[in-house]
Symmetry: C3
Subunit: 100 residues, 3 copies
């Protein structure tokens, strides 16, 4: 099966940020995303470590340029204020034209 | 820790396709899978972009040949009719014999 | 965007193991994790294949040494007794200092 490299960008953040993050993702040019309700704990919540917060995971398949645009916005406007996790991995997709 | 390369195949589709996709995955020879309820938006749903659909994510750890078999079935019978996302990434597993 | 390689360790296990696995993850030195409720089927559940069990997915971003520590504990105390899936993949993170 013929596949093509693409970036899977994953964000994990407080659920209250969901709509704003979806807006940033669309503005950066991504054509789709997947949302999962998750809970979790990060370095910021260490003191209340028994409480698993209400978080959301947003996954975006995009070209590296689009992923970079999202990360730049996060860097400028989110990272210093909110507990947002962001990471990228390389995936192989079929039908790459769906993600442009 | 000694690990072995394997493929993580991820499908995201409308929930209504869940049972059929599980059947395809088993038929291809996969020995297990993980199901997550997700919501999302893709290039097809652009016009109703405010609605986050009821989707399912199915993850399968398998050898490349098994993943390819699943992708071939998707190619033939699903991609033209349904909003199915499919991608692969390389992972490292312990106890590889569990996935054969 | 400047990114740094890190390991994404994913565990999938029966929900009843959640608290114990979180304890192992913290003990190994991980600073955070994400929990997702999932269902699934693995090689052990083949005979009751119509039943999708109540499982939990735990994702940890960490350095390889920390991931290895978790895997060693799983190897020693879990793999022979429980249906635990464990795999690693390489991801690129921003703000790597959050994960040390």
């Amino acid at each position: 099966m013929n596949t093509h490299p693409m970036i899977l960008l994953t964000l994990v953040a407080e659920s209250i940020l969901k709509d704003r993050l979806i807006h940033e993702i669309r503005s950066a040019g991504a054509r789709g995303f997947t949302i999962t309700d998750v809970s979790g704990e990060g370095s910021r919540q260490r003191r209340v470590s028994e409480l698993l917060g209400d978080n959301v995971k947003i996954e975006v398949i995009a070209k590296r340029e689009v992923a970079d645009k999202v990360l730049e916005v996060l860097q400028k406007e989110y990272f210093s204020r909110y507990a947002v996790i962001a990471y990228m991995s390389e995936i192989q997709v079929v039908r790459e034209e769906k993600y442009f």
